[in-house]
Symmetry: C2
Subunit: 329 residues, 2 copies
């Protein structure tokens, strides 16, 4: 088991470097520089490259080879970066991965256009790895793009909504986060030459893993170690975001507690020095444990869908799911 | 000839209505409304639908049928509207086609996301009309998208550049405007089942027509009848844009005239009441005639490329080129 983990970690690290190199080269020498230099700036920033990894592993699982999906793997990372660039403008965010966001380093107009351009190059790269399967692969990619726009719009709607249910929240993150992981697996498995059953199994894995990933993100925001996390704890509460934890807390709370939680909505966020109190309330209401349980359930659903693969093929997907649950940042 | 013109105008009007209906239905009932209602707002605004027309006519020219490219025709119009929405944010434009621009009616964040979403639905619609040719069709569409982003970035660069040559200007509008007309013809001809020679001929028609169209646009800005034009005459000069006319004028001018033109750059535009003087200077320097000559040349190049088609097939493309040259708004 431990040997396997080391092996898988090495595979990940090695492939991450390969993806980084493709991304670095992807915009080199292209003109105008006013468009592609800012594009390179965002593509070169430190990312986990988890989405490309899903493409690679899914292709491999169905008997395909990494070398046939590198461009597609780079494409999903470009698509992801396109969403980050535009989301950061909308959120008026200053920092991303420890560096200035694109619209802060340049300006909003540049960031809008560079985001568009990243998306255009993403399609260009995806097409490089397509042949007879182009319609299927491009449809999966396009569905991912449609979903991520819808998810982002729903997330924005939540800011103004008085109450959001857990069901609505799960629907939103399925579109905003999980659809892209699902798409990565589907693209990898399709280009890799998988049959319908295996493509569907991997897509389901990606989707459920994506939901678990997002709830874990919400959990980390309040329960991570600040040093390891690299960001201030409780940022979601400060911004008044309707996360899994907050919605669940509001569902469980009565009386005084409920009133205290409602203040987050009324005031569109809290002060940093209030985070501690809200964390204690979350603990009292048991929502951290609810989140952990939910993460485990979605992860189990992800793993369950892989039964059509033999145990050897499944191992690296188990490792990945485990690593995501245990991540501290 | 006159009978033909009436017939072609009727075909255009009939097909325009069909495209309008597809566009109107395309976002109906989709959720969230926060995303698709603003999307509908822009798709329902009055447009000439020239790009969809190029798709339809190109398909027909190679023996294809209109009904097999309606979704593709709607897709190129959605792509066009995506560029308008994002360009209007960047230009801080208030009005478009006589109505409030999307970011003025809603807000910039909505407009960024709705633009992205229009692009996603454009790909979705294009894929509906693709089968074995998906890679080719999607590659043409994606190249159009890449080019339009590059062209927009170059156009922005021009604002800060001291001097721009006619060659650089033509290169920019080839990317920003003509690449999309080229793309429309290529997509129509490819889905229509044309061979390589005919696809290339139509693509070349689209590209050169697009260049002529843009120079004509620059010309209309100063020489149109204000009532018919529906906009203030000389808007490009007021905004200090480096159009064909301005670049050519600067090329031709010496001494005092040159100094007077340089003021447009120095002051980043002129006052409305100065437009008359600049128009007189343009006339003195012969740049309106140069533009007319250039428009004719590119139009002729467009028509020349159609020699692989018989005279009957060519007629409607001649009519379209003629109508575009004669348009007054």
């Amino acid at each position: 088991m431990k040997n396997n983990n080391r092996k898988f970690t090495q595979i990940y690290q090695k492939q991450k470097i390969k993806i980084d190199i493709i991304l670095e080269k992807s915009l080199q020498g292209r003109k105008p520089a006013s468009l592609y230099e800012p594009g390179s700036y965002i593509l070169h920033s430190e990312g986990k490259r988890l989405r490309p990894l899903l493409v690679l592993l899914s292709a491999q699982a169905v008997g395909g080879q990494f070398k046939n999906v590198y461009n597609a793997a780079a494409a999903v990372e470009m698509l992801h970066n396109f969403t980050l660039v535009h989301d950061d403008i909308m959120d008026n965010a200053d920092k991303r991965r420890g560096r200035l966001t694109l619209h802060k380093k340049y300006d909003s107009n540049t960031a809008i256009l560079v985001g568009d351009s990243l998306l255009s190059v993403a399609y260009e790269y995806l097409l490089k790895d397509c042949n007879g399967n182009a319609k299927e692969v491009l449809s999966a990619f396009t569905k991912g793009l449609v979903d991520v726009c819808e998810g982002q719009s729903m997330d924005t709607d939540f800011e103004l909504k008085e109450s959001v249910s857990i069901k609505e929240y799960i629907f939103m993150i399925t579109k905003k986060t999980a659809a892209m992981a699902e798409m990565c697996c589907k693209i990898g498995a399709t280009i890799g030459g998988g049959n319908r059953t295996k493509i569907n199994a991997l897509s389901k894995y990606g989707k459920n893993l994506g939901i678990a990933f997002q709830i874990h993100d919400d959990l980390l925001d309040i329960s991570a170690d600040e040093k390891e996390f690299g960001k201030t704890i409780g940022g979601d509460l400060v911004e008044g975001k309707k996360t899994y934890l907050f919605i669940k807390a509001l569902e469980n709370a009565r009386g005084k507690d409920r009133k205290y939680l409602s203040k987050v909505i009324e005031n569109k966020g809290i002060r940093k020095n209030q985070v501690k109190n809200y964390k204690l309330l979350y603990e009292k209401l048991g929502v951290l444990n609810s989140a952990k349980k939910e993460i485990k359930e979605y992860t189990n659903q992800a793993l369950d869908s892989l039964k059509v693969f033999n145990i050897e093929q499944r191992k690296i997907f188990y490792w990945l799911a485990d690593a995501l649950i245990k991540r501290t940042r």
